[in-house]
């Protein structure tokens, strides 16, 4: 029998030794890489001299600042109202079509903002069918709001982002059940008052979480505002860097944008701590049946929302797609398509793999070390690593460019490799995806891991299956559902990703999203429908997963 000698040293020396633990070092290094773009942006913005300071301060910054704030505030408000109202209807009332709307109102998640944007322009712009129709009926004097403005951007983004609020608050209302309302009514609150005195305050942490998600997405949005010509930080970064060629000014704008993001992150981490425990049994939730006119109102509201957010855009896309169906089979498009598929598969495999590795490291650190500090530190590191999802693609592109240029110069002088351009290559792009979407892969795998009973591992060890074999034969198969979810989610996210791909892709590597950007900048809405249809179709996959997940949790 093999006996292992242990370190019988004092506790203090054990701690200092374990800080040099190789697993912790690896986690730390990964974390550094993930945070590198943010460090770079702030460091460069503070230290590097800017060539266009005066121009930036006088013309760009005030307008962009104003636009960004207006956009974030109005999109957040509008999508919260839409999402909240829809969630309230489907979880509290019984009305015709409720079951359908319950899942169908999530479908707009599959439509990226930039697709919604150009469809809206195509339908409602001066030359579009709606205004044409109005002019035919009312004459050329018929007034119509200018859609190619901030208004259009707010509408398009809200229609795409309300599902976040809807999804999260629907979960909260389902958990709360009718119990909360019944308690309030038994204490003398009228049903209407009970909504405001109890149900909404109880759901507040979830509503906040949904709002913050919307804020984050709006801050990061590039494609939508670009199409509406509504300049925010993201488009300003792009134009300053690629249009005016001023990297330092772009870096300063990126730092400004990151400040906003950090504020939202801080609010979010505070809000996380105050979710209430659920009241009563979720399944006991019975819905109120409404009088005819009221139920008509509910059906009408959900129907209109669904129509504008999903049905009309899809129908329009399909019409355009059929018009240009020959494009879809041209060799150029097949190339865009295969580029996109290649990037998305490479990226999702890479990122899911990294997520598994990080979880394995973290797990080993937790089980092998009794010291609290170690497991705390490893938790903190992996949490920092997931922060990358908050960094907008434009910031990421520019924050990676600077250190990678430096690195390739260094490698060229050190090893004499010629023409090694890391900064504008596949490597940079995949690294950027990894930073941005690591959290997307990490969360499902991590939650699967935390649900695993430690007994599986102990049984495996008591039967002599240890180390790598234990992972191969026991843990990885048990983590499979989580890993598959991670792969699917990351795949779709990479497919949809626009600014990072646009700014970092190697020469000639056009993807579907990039193609949409190029076609829409030339006003070719109908041709852009061809790549858009592919993106939307694949994007339906995570919506399906989300709905499936919810039904599973309801059943168990």
């Amino acid at each position: 029998m093999q006996a292992q000698m242990t370190l019988s040293s004092k506790k203090t020396s054990r701690i200092s030794r374990s800080f040099l633990n190789w697993r912790l070092v690896v986690l730390g290094l990964l974390c550094l890489v993930m945070l590198l773009p943010v460090f770079t942006v702030f460091q460069q913005a503070l230290l590097a001299p800017s060539d266009l300071n005066a121009h930036l301060n006088e013309y760009v910054l005030p307008r962009v600042l104003f636009n960004t704030i207006v956009l974030v505030v109005s999109v957040t408000l509008l999508s919260t109202i839409l999402g909240l109202a829809a969630a309230w209807c489907v979880s509290m009332y019984e009305f015709p079509g409720r079951r359908f709307f319950s899942w169908a109102l999530l479908l707009p998640l599959a439509i990226p903002g930039y697709v919604m944007a150009f469809v809206m322009l195509g339908v409602f712009d001066f030359a579009g069918p709606v205004q044409n129709f109005l002019r035919n009926v009312f004459g050329s004097s018929a007034w119509f709001p200018n859609i190619r403005s901030g208004l259009g951007a707010v509408l398009a983004l809200s229609l795409c982002l309300y599902p976040y609020v809807y999804l999260i608050t629907r979960g909260a209302f389902a958990q709360q059940g009718k119990r909360a309302l019944e308690v309030a009514q038994s204490l003398g609150h009228s049903p209407r008052r009970a909504i405001f005195s109890l149900a909404l305050p109880l759901a507040r942490p979830w509503i906040m979480a949904g709002m913050l998600l919307v804020m984050m997405e709006t801050l990061a949005d590039f494609g939508t505002v670009a199409i509406f010509n509504f300049d925010t930080f993201t488009t300003a970064i792009y134009h300053t860097w690629f249009g005016m060629g001023s990297l330092p000014s772009a870096l300063r704008l990126a730092a400004w944008l990151m400040l906003f993001v950090i504020v939202v992150l801080l609010i979010e981490s505070r809000g996380r701590q105050q979710r209430y425990t659920s009241m009563g049994d979720a399944l006991s939730n019975s819905r109120e049946s409404l009088s005819k006119p009221k139920s008509f109102l509910c059906t009408g509201f959900c129907g209109i929302l669904f129509g504008f957010a999903f049905l009309i855009p899809i129908v329009q896309l399909l019409i355009w797609f059929i018009e240009h169906i020959e494009l879809a089979f041209s060799s150029r498009y097949l190339e865009f398509f295969s580029n996109t598929l290649l990037l998305a598969s490479l990226g999702s495999v890479l990122i899911a793999l990294l997520a598994v590795v990080v979880i394995a490291l973290q797990h080993a650190l937790r089980t092998r070390n009794k010291e609290k500090q170690i497991s705390f530190l490893s938790k903190l590191l992996s949490r920092l690593m997931t922060m990358g999802y908050a960094v907008p693609g434009t910031v990421l592109a520019i924050g990676l460019f600077v250190p990678l240029v430096w690195l390739s110069k260094f490698l060229v002088t050190m090893f004499g490799v010629s023409q090694l351009l890391l900064a504008g290559g596949l490597f940079a792009l995949l690294l950027g995806y990894t930073i941005r979407f690591f959290a997307v892969a990490f969360r499902p795998v991590d939650s699967q891991m935390q649900r695993l009973s430690s007994h599986f591992e102990e049984v495996s060890e008591s039967l002599g299956v240890v180390g790598i074999k234990k992972w191969q034969q026991v843990i990885l198969p048990l983590l499979r559902p989580g890993i598959l979810t991670a792969l699917a989610l990351v795949f779709v996210d990479i497919m949809k990703e626009m600014p990072l791909t646009l700014m970092t892709r190697p020469f000639g590597w056009d993807t579907l999203a990039v193609q949409i950007f190029e076609l829409t900048s030339e006003g070719e809405w109908s041709m852009a429908a061809v790549p858009a249809i592919a993106i939307v179709l694949v994007g339906l996959l995570p919506v399906y997963l989300l709905n499936n997940q919810r039904e599973k949790t309801l059943k168990s």
Binding site: M1, V459, E461, S462, L463, V465
Partner: protein, 345 residues
């Protein structure tokens, strides 16, 4: 395999969960740790399995140390089988693959042979291709047993193995598993909070409370010869009566002097609490001593009466079922105490 645990102590973050636990299980013996939840019995099991390193103490198998301050044989090298409360069957593997999971050293043909053999022993040979979620609770339990015994362990550890099964199945499966363990001559240590399970299953039982071993004994002795008040209270039913030790060393209670063997060392003239088990109080219509029925619990073959003596003191009496008396009725009783259990006040 003989398992010896000596002076085992363990703490989690400054809370001591085990204090100075020592016991020995003979080769082929089936032992049980019995105690209320949170008493530390599962921690002992995990220390023996090697999942937990105790702060102090030595664990050895056949006089070979497997756990001490300086030695820690990893769980994989202990040749110890483990059965969990939730069975921990691997959901992605079929029954036969689950059973074969610990047989990685065997050749393919040996493996199939062994799997077949143990599946026959547990009566699941027909279900070998099924997956865990397709099995009933009892069948899952059998798979867990088959998987644990397949690699020929010298010791099997079981953590509340029957708590997810209904009562009738629990008894039947308990007896079956006992026979299988005896057949393979495997030493076993089980943890439970259910004394009936422990009585039915184990050759010897250790009663644990607050991380301390109260008594290590046979079921009979725990019931009739408890070492302390906790064991007397925890095991079985009974009532404590005031008593006094006479100058002749005999214990006197209000129902008279007790003739049985006195277990505890008592000084003459001491005041004591005397334990009367329900089977110590015999119903006898001819007896001059009577007591009034306060409460009755029908149990099928017999009835458990709660009786009030003249002084108001209550005792329990187990009476065959055909002596059916109404509440309020006075019935004749006499004592038949073989072992006098008395604790000084």
């Amino acid at each position: 395999m003989q398992l010896t645990v000596s002076q085992l102590s363990h703490s989690y973050a400054n809370v001591q969960v085990l204090k100075d636990i020592s016991f020995t299980i003979a080769d082929g013996e089936i032992a049980c740790l019995l105690g209320p939840s949170g008493s530390g019995k599962t921690t002992i099991l995990r220390c023996v399995a090697g999942f937990e390193r105790p702060s102090q103490g030595v664990i050895s198998s056949d006089n070979e140390i497997i756990t001490s301050q300086t030695i820690h044989v990893p769980p994989a090298k202990r040749n110890v089988g483990m059965i969990f409360q939730d069975y921990a069957l691997l959901p992605h593997l079929s029954v036969e693959k689950n059973v074969a999971f610990g047989l990685h050293q065997l050749s393919r043909t040996e493996k199939t042979k062994k799997v077949q053999e143990v599946l026959e022993v547990v009566g699941l040979e027909k279900l070998s291709k099924q997956y865990p979620h397709q099995l009933s609770g009892g069948q899952q339990q059998r798979v867990a047993l088959a998987r644990a015994i397949a690699p020929n362990p010298r010791l099997i550890l079981m953590d509340e193995p029957f708590s997810n099964l209904d009562v009738s199945l629990r008894n039947r499966l308990g007896q079956e598993i006992k026979q299988i363990l005896k057949h393979y001559d495997i030493t076993a240590l089980m943890v439970t909070h259910d004394q009936h399970e422990a009585f039915a299953f184990a050759d010897s039982i250790g009663v644990i409370k607050d991380g301390e071993l109260q008594q290590w004994d046979t079921a009979y002795n725990l019931y009739h010869k408890p070492d302390n008040r906790f064991v007397a209270n925890f095991i079985g039913q009974g009532a404590f009566l005031d008593g006094k030790v006479g100058s002749d060393g005999k214990v006197q209670i209000e129902l008279g002097g007790l003739d049985g063997q006195i277990l505890q060392s008592l000084e003459p003239l001491q005041n004591v609490d005397v334990l009367l088990r329900p089977d110590d109080v015999i119903h006898d219509d001819d007896s001059p001593v009577t007591a009034k029925v306060i409460h009755k619990a029908f149990r099928g073959a017999d009835i458990l009466y709660t009786l009030a003596l003249d002084s108001g003191t209550r005792v329990l009496s187990l009476v065959p079922s055909h002596h059916n008396h109404a509440i309020g009725e006075a019935i004749g009783i006499r004592l038949e105490v073989d072992h006098v259990v008395a604790f000084t006040k």
